[in-house]
């Protein structure tokens, strides 16, 4: 059985393009400057794995890390 995914937005890389937030609003939130952060501890709920990978593959700054636990 595949492990759960955990996402993290690297704050040194994120420039606030907000692609992740529009593609996967269940997984990302934006701060007052528009920079993205993973919601909670970044654990991806079952069924949202594809959205996590979609956000990852559309981030121009390569700021989203995905780990399989």
């Amino acid at each position: 059985m595949p492990g759960r995914l955990k996402i993290h937005v690297d704050q040194d890389k994120c420039q606030g393009h907000s692609r992740c937030k529009s593609l996967a609003p269940e997984l990302f939130e934006l701060d007052e400057y528009g920079n993205a952060h993973e919601i909670g501890d970044g654990t991806v709920p079952a069924g949202l794995e594809d959205k996590a990978w979609l956000a990852h593959s559309n981030c121009p700054e390569l700021a989203i890390e995905i780990k399989e636990e």
Binding site: Q15, G16, E32, G34, N58, E61
Partner: protein, 399 residues
């Protein structure tokens, strides 16, 4: 007004104002990319052009060797250039100047403008929907960002024609004619000085007041020059860029009925399609000035030269985008750099995306059938913002 010699050797002597580049730059970029990741021309007092995604990215992230103090490549390099923070700022002054502008341009902030933008689009369409043909650049795409930014700044939407004239003088005529550029900047400064003075007496709830009320880290207000510079930036950067993005998208849909029909049948695909239009027809090429000797993708880079930071060419790089020369409206993986990479990411990207989406959505709802008018000429802008400046369309089903 100089009349540059036609280009015969693109690899060693390119010219981004050559009419062939203006008309169709894509085969030129493909040819240059196949030769070298960074090419050079002696024109415009010396300019490099990175042609690959990797080289564009490397320069975007390298603020040590490449300065933003000049962001337009021109025939002259007068000192000192008119600053427009934060686009013309380098670290460490860049971040505080940018942070003042970020909150009014978040997705949540721009969504509040959406109803006004939707209304603007419909008012414009009302004026020509009963006609058999329209120049969509002159009567639709141009006015949407102009009125939207005027609305945000709190200045009359009817002053839009004035803004468009200044922008044309600064970004297009100004490449070759310094006097025209300086006069336009002067007129714009006088216009905003009046707006700023009026707000000192009667504060308002708009972006000009937001800038006037901003404080730096020591609690001091911004200087009038800083406020002026940022206003200049918002007006110049917010109008012909989005005008171009909407225009190129409409142009593509006018000549591609299959994509048009699919977007009408599957409107939920539109945000993905807009990202693809942004990739394939990226409007904006930025510039940097080389400050110190370095290498990029193995190519030597020498100070005294400018760089044309071609996000449009990067976005056509087949090493990063499969079928880079094809417009695929449901492209899933799309790390395009249309809004830049690194610290200078376009502050208005969320606004631009919203305007493009609403403009195309409203157009398709009301004018599902349209095509290019073969009896009249298309015209593209010259210089570093690319988009249709004449877009003659026939409206309604083909007879």
């Amino acid at each position: 007004m100089s009349n540059p010699a036609p280009v015969t050797d693109w690899v060693h002597d390119f010219d981004h104002t050559d009419p062939r580049w203006t008309d169709n730059p894509f085969p030129i970029w493909d040819e240059l990319r196949a030769k070298c990741p960074v090419v050079h021309t002696d024109r415009f007092l010396g300019v490099y052009l990175p042609t690959t995604y990797e080289a564009v990215k490397e320069i975007s992230y390298d603020t040590e060797h490449f300065s933003s103090r000049r962001v337009v490549v021109r025939n002259v390099r007068p000192e000192p250039p008119q600053p427009a923070p934060p686009i013309t700022s380098d670290p460490p002054t860049h971040k505080p100047a940018k942070q003042i502008l970020l909150p009014p341009f978040t997705p949540d902030a721009t969504v509040k403008l959406e109803p006004r933008v939707r209304a603007i689009c419909n008012e414009l369409i009302d004026a020509f929907i009963d006609q058999p043909s329209v120049d969509a650049a002159a009567h639709y795409t141009k006015h949407i960002p102009t009125r939207a930014i005027a609305h945000m700044l709190g200045i009359p939407e009817k002053d839009g024609d004035l803004f468009i004239k200044w922008i044309h003088e600064i970004l297009e005529l100004g490449i070759h004619d310094d006097a025209v550029l300086m006069r336009a900047v002067g007129d714009m400064t006088a216009y905003f000085a009046e707006q700023i003075e009026a707000r000192k007496i009667h504060p308002t709830d708009d972006l000009i007041s937001t800038l006037m009320n901003a404080r730096d880290k020591d609690g001091r207000p911004l200087s009038d020059e800083h406020v002026q510079g940022s206003l200049r930036l918002l007006l110049i950067a917010g109008i012909d860029t989005t005008w171009s993005g909407i225009g190129s998208s409409l142009w593509h849909l006018a000549k591609t009925p299959t994509d048009r029909e699919r977007l009408i049948a599957e409107p939920e695909l539109l945000p993905t399609a807009i990202e693809e239009f942004l990739r394939a027809y990226s409007p904006v090429t930025m510039a940097r000035e080389v400050m110190k000797e370095t290498t990029v993708s193995g190519c030597p880079i020498k100070p005294g030269n400018m760089v044309l930071l071609s996000f449009p060419a990067a976005n056509r790089d087949p090493a990063v985008f499969p079928d880079a020369d094809k417009v695929i409206i449901d492209r899933k993986e799309n790390r395009h750099a249309a809004f830049g990479l690194g610290i200078h990411r376009c502050v208005g990207s969320n606004l631009a995306r919203m305007e493009m989406l609403v403009a195309i959505e409203e157009w398709l709802k009301r004018i599902p059938d349209f095509r290019l008018d073969p009896s009249r000429d298309m015209k593209w802008s010259e210089g570093t913002v690319r988009g249709p400046r004449q877009l003659p369309l026939l409206l309604g089903k083909a007879a």
